[in-house]
Symmetry: C2
Subunit: 149 residues, 2 copies
């Protein structure tokens, strides 16, 4: 349902948000997010083309978010690499269904709309701010507990 590429992209921008506004190299991101380095570079390229991420070559360069984490939605990230496929015309090519989908495809598209809305209403800042027992990408709790590992 959620492609591997989307999963990778979200991990990458989450790390960029955590380190914002400091640039991170592809290599650094790959290690923290456990994404294959070579493939990650392709995913990041898509994010750059999508305007979500800025890239800077050369020493001291790397990747940064183009906006603050509070302004980047999950949906923007998803759309940059693997857009949600909404059903806009009848998949069977039935002319009479062209604009007004039949009940079946209306339901399927509604489900896609639910996902789109959920992603639209979620920002990277919210993901990082949410109190939780675990921190995104991080093996250990940010707030130390007396629980031994």
């Amino acid at each position: 349902m959620i492609s591997q590429t989307v999963e990778y992209a979200l991990r990458a921008v989450t790390h960029l948000a955590q380190q914002s506004p400091h640039a991170q190299t592809t290599e650094e991101i790959a290690e923290v997010t456990r994404v294959p380095r070579a493939y990650l570079s392709k995913v990041l390229q898509a994010l750059v083309r999508g305007g979500v991420v800025h890239s800077q070559r050369g020493i001291g360069g790397g990747m940064t978010l183009t906006k603050s984490p509070a302004e980047v939605t999950i949906l923007e990230v998803v759309n940059a690499v693997d857009p949600i496929q909404r059903i806009r015309t009848c998949p069977l090519g039935l002319a009479s269904h062209g604009i007004h989908l039949c009940p079946l495809h209306t339901r399927l598209d509604s489900a896609m709309a639910l996902v789109e809305d959920a992603f639209r209403n979620s920002t990277l800042a919210e993901v990082l701010a949410e109190p939780s027992r675990s921190t995104p990408l991080c093996e250990f709790p940010t707030v130390p507990t007396k629980l031994a590992t």
Copy 2:
């Protein structure tokens, strides 16, 4: 997002529901639903294994729903051919996230849950009964007729 296989499966069971309880051959379903015949037979096999569809060989045989259209949910059909992938453990394999997903993956899984719920609360009978300008799988508006069962 929604795989081609799921789309095909839903078209097939929709047609079976429309013709319920009369058996339909793979060939008949393929024509109406515009699904490649050979591939459709594989999809139907999955539906049979999933208990959604019953198959009968030989002359006069074909495919029928195992239950009435009112009892078959979209989710059952989806689960039979390409189950919704819920996120149950941390995709990064972080031990500390094992059971309690981080906020990022919690959000992604919630979106999948939304889809699952939408599909669970939709039956084939509802899809067929819903007033609409177009009828599932049918090119022309259905003319209200007296049905003999």
